[in-house]
């Protein structure tokens, strides 16, 4: 197993006993899509309808689940279900925002490094190694703390940290594609470099990169939860699942739902995304399909 596999996430079994796995692949993809779909649906619904106003504290503090508060209320008397629904929005925004930012910067930088001359390539990859040596969370904490903490600062921080990982993966993949004869063939038959990138390089690296981006989405959701747990994410009144957990921690016995529900939702979303990535790996990469 090489570094790039490490970056893509643990590869799953291609061993001799993987014969039955093709069937379970589509099951994996389906379960993943359902889990992610549920969270997306909740987030979309929350844009149009919420059980209570987010700031409505009239329900009394730490009420147990029941009518009219289906999941009870938090320590300020806000409806928990409402907060959870808004949290879905924030988690998805954090994941999507970081992936778009980190993916864009990372892919462009990785392409550039992949094409660069030896000297420039060495400098860029050394820089990337150092950036990766700062783990995502620390880098994110640094960025989040120097600005006023907000969802945007969390997204920027996670996205920047992610871009180093994406860039390194892209660079390795580009190098590998460029070594192929079909690139030389395309060049000698007069294809310009930009067209080579668009027609040969990008289609060849995209399957691996997109699967990695999906896994990074899950990691970004976890990172955002950790940041807001530490108070470095979206500030109140935005209900981030991480901050909800932090706030509910003290009243775990009076209102256990407050500690359980946000955590379960984080797990559902991240598992869903990971399963989609696993299943998508086969759909997106024809070479893997043929091998079976």
């Amino acid at each position: 197993m090489s570094v790039e596999q490490a970056l893509v996430g643990a590869p799953d079994g291609e061993g001799p006993k993987a014969a039955t796995r093709h069937v379970s692949r589509s099951v994996t993809l389906t379960i993943g899509c359902v889990l992610v779909g549920v969270i997306v649906l909740v987030a979309v619904v929350s844009l149009f309808w919420l059980p209570f106003a987010p700031e409505d504290t009239s329900g009394g503090r730490l009420m147990p689940p029941g009518a009219p508060h289906l999941l009870g209320t938090d320590k300020l008397g806000r409806d928990l279900l409402t907060q959870l629904m808004i949290g879905a929005r924030i988690a998805l925004a954090a994941g999507a925002g970081s992936v778009v930012l980190g993916g864009a910067i990372g892919i462009v930088a990785g392409l550039a490094a992949g094409f660069a001359t030896r000297w420039l390539d060495d400098v860029v990859s050394a820089l990337l190694d150092i950036l990766i040596a700062f783990p995502t969370l620390l880098l994110a904490m640094l960025v989040a703390a120097t600005q006023a903490a907000s969802l945007t600062s969390a997204i920027v921080a996670i996205g920047l940290a992610m871009s180093a990982i994406v860039a390194r993966l892209t660079r390795v993949l580009v190098k590998r594609v460029l070594a192929h004869d079909f690139i030389t063939a395309a060049r000698t038959s007069g294809t310009s470099w930009p067209r080579v990138v668009l027609e040969h390089v990008v289609p060849n690296i995209w399957p691996t990169v997109s699967v990695n981006l999906a896994l990074q989405f899950g990691l970004a959701v976890l990172a955002e939860a950790s940041l807001s747990y530490l108070g470095l994410g979206a500030p109140p009144p935005n209900a981030s699942w991480g901050r909800m957990l932090q706030e509910a921690q003290a009243s775990v016995f009076i209102a256990p739902v407050g500690v359980i529900a946000p955590g379960v939702l984080i797990v559902v979303l991240v598992i869903g995304v990971n399963l989609v990535a696993d299943g998508f790996r086969d759909v997106a990469d024809p070479t893997r399909r043929r091998r079976r």
Partner: protein, 321 residues
Amino acid sequence: MTAYLLRRTAFLVVSLLLAAVVLFLLLRLLPGDPANSLLSVGATPEQIEAARHQIGTDRPLPEQFVSWLGRLATFDLGESFVSTLPVGPEIAARLVVTVPLTLLSFVLAVVVAVPVGFVAAHKANTWYGSVLSGVSQLGIAVPVFWVGMLLVTVFSLSLRVLPAGGFPQDDWADPAKALTSLTLPVVTIALVMSASLIRYVRSATLDVLGSDYLRTSRALGSSFARAMWRHGLRNAVVPVISILGIELASTFLGAVVVESVFALPGLGGMLVKGLAQHDYPVIQGILFVSTLVVLVIGFAADLVQRLIDPRLRHSLARDVR
């Protein structure tokens, strides 16, 4: 090997220098004035100027950088803007908590993950093989601080068998007491970490199980155990070691969040406080020490890998990294 060692060491030193530059610049280029943390709301411009002068942020950036780097060379990490105490000794005191926490979690995670990962691969098409894979899939999706919260709820608040947090004032004077307070944090980190490790061990084992050399060895009459011991293990362990390096480094840093769940007086708590106060020397110091640790672990993992795998030693791989 000597040439490789020299090149790898040079790379380590250059990385560290670059890390110092990146760290320094990143912190200064981002918005936020550390002088504010010394002042109350509504300070006069003169007071702000005086505060900036006191902590030295009124000097030109290159000058600040050179003075920081110069002191760094003598292992002097400067003094906190807020408490004016030297950062280095404070970090050293905090490491007394963070390093044992990291190492214990790491060892526990490896002890759990290696056999479980092996079984998950070896028995991949049995029901418990699938269950093990499923559980590890679950483990990589769980926020580590949430696991900590749940464990505290069960073992500290309900069963009252372990402390919910904190660390003895006198550190390791009473090892049993210190270990007790580290039990839950260690289990928390190890649980989450072993989940991802299991996946790597499993895939490395699957690679070996599908290999021609193992089949050949079996065909020549070796028992499965003997073939695995003589050929399989050595091959499977190489990729796992590079992952172990990465995992050890991330455990060290993942401790940041877990320390805050369990109110442990480690590096993490110090960093969170430093960040809140814009205390640049504290933040810089911790991140620099952390980067140093991460880079040294990577260095060590590379060396061990070379020692184990003669193919790496003898190949003319020009890629230092």
